[in-house]
């Protein structure tokens, strides 16, 4: 326990020293503040954006909403198709080449098309996030359901379980840990897709704010938004970890 705190204090020390050096380099103009901003300015922007005029929070709500929509749509369809592939292997043989091709495509390259189809609003951002989440959750669902222990199936058969009972009570439950790690990754990728979509063309969201701030040379603002995004990403991961610990307490 003592060691734990020692490590924490050392980490904090390094961060403080780093920020002081940064501030000094900026104030003394060792590096042009236009490129690196300065910590005091960054924290001022962050504080104002979160607590005073709430500009960061306002844009973040758009981003979070789009991310959740992309994540939910992507995971539901990903799990759905994954289970379809497991129950009807023929469907996988039919769809696999198409999906493999789509998955190999750099998804950001689809953004112009999505803008054309779904407009400048939230639709195109959700589509981009979806296109990333879907494939991750799909492949994890298939992998999880295929890796079921064959002895469990033998045992269930000798106990007289029907095919559907075996599917729901054994195959599906045993796949949950693998599906869940797909969901954790899928959420982060949904955020990535949404931010990328906002950067390319948007009226709202943190990605749009980033492009605006960078375009007006507000370096402090850019760093502030990046820090906020970092915290948001960590927060989402922690949330999923907590959910996982609760749902998979048997692991």
């Amino acid at each position: 326990m003592k060691q734990h705190w020692n490590i924490r204090i050392a980490q904090l020390g390094v961060v403080v020293v780093f920020l002081l050096l940064w501030q000094w380099a900026s104030v003394a103009k060792l590096i042009d503040p236009l490129f690196i901003g300065r910590p005091t300015g960054i924290f001022r922007y962050l504080f104002r954006g979160v607590f005073v005029d709430g500009v960061i929070i306002k844009e973040a709500l758009w981003t979070i909403g789009e991310t959740l929509a992309a994540f939910i749509l992507g995971s539901v369809t990903g799990i759905g198709f994954g289970l379809l592939f497991v129950v009807y292997p023929l469907s996988e043989r039919f769809l696999d080449p198409i999906l493999a091709g789509l998955n190999a495509l750099p998804r950001v390259a689809l953004a112009p098309l999505f803008l054309l189809w779904f407009g400048l609003g939230i639709g195109s951002k959700i589509a981009l996030g979806f296109s990333l989440t879907f494939f991750i959750v799909l492949s994890n669902t298939v992998a999880g359901a295929r890796s079921v222990d064959p002895d469990w199936l033998t045992l269930s058969r000798t106990l007289g379980a029907s095919r559907s009972t075996i599917f729901f009570k054994v195959v599906l439950i045993s796949a949950v840990p693998t599906i869940f790690s797909g969901l954790k990754l899928g959420l982060i990728y949904a955020l990535l897709g949404v931010i990328a979509g906002e950067i390319i063309a948007s009226q709202h969201g943190l990605g749009q704010l980033l492009t605006y701030l960078a375009g007006t040379f507000d370096t402090n603002g850019v760093f502030a938004v990046l820090m906020f995004l970092g915290v948001l990403g960590v927060g989402l991961t922690k949330l999923m970890d907590a959910l996982e610990r609760y749902l998979l307490k048997w692991q």
Binding site: D149, D151, W152, T154, L155, S156, R157, T158, L159, G160, A161, T165, K169, V170, I173, S174, V176, L248, K249, W250, Q251
Partner: protein, 269 residues
Amino acid sequence: MASDKTRWIEISGVSHAFSHGVPAIQDISITVGKGEFVSIVGPSGCGKTTVLNLLAGLIDVQGGVVHLASRKPRAGRHDVAYMLARDCLFPWRTAIENAMLGAELRNMSRQKRLSRAKAFLKRVGLEGFENQYPKALSHGMRQRVALARTFSLDSEILLMDEPFGALDAQTKLQLEDLLLNLWNDERRTVVFITHDLAEAVILSDRVIVMSARPGRIMDDIPIPLRRPRSVRELQKDPAYHELYAKVWERLEAGLVRSMVANQGSATPT
């Protein structure tokens, strides 16, 4: 037929080949009486498990006749319970939920399966561990849960495929004693596969010795040791050691015979 309790399980003239044509067992005939404990021993790969899987209805009968209680084998029959070498506990279920699994899949009422599972967990010495997940249990404890799961099924016929094969020596002795006790209380018909000759002699009324692949029956040795038995007391009984030597001798004869038989056809390895 149904009243013929000396032929409760009947295997008659059964041969079986794997899908690639390699014969697994050849012309096997075994009868097991109702309430009898019969072990099948033999070198690894002799087809013991094939015999058990035929009885369990997990593989189809290719030639010959297989009957259990006058009916053909079928996976999921309620009067047959099957136990594997691995405990096969579901990690997402607690000990008691695992012990209830069979009864649950067989639609026993919740009340009844809960009380039965509880009673059997107690009998296998796991009282107080009902709500533990398998990850928190040792190998021996997990196999005890599997025993509780098997016995709480109420099935008259038990098919066991080396259920203690994966345990360390000491745990194995404890579980053998436990199985002796459980079986002694309610004499069910047991077909028990093992490669451990001591285990076969300790537990069984009869030991069937099979030869190396393709498996044939070398001998059918009655074990007239008095019941109730205990592992420790049998160790002191000269009759036990005599029987053990006899089974061992027959098993060795089976190995030699198959080696001689293979010398003509196969290249020596």
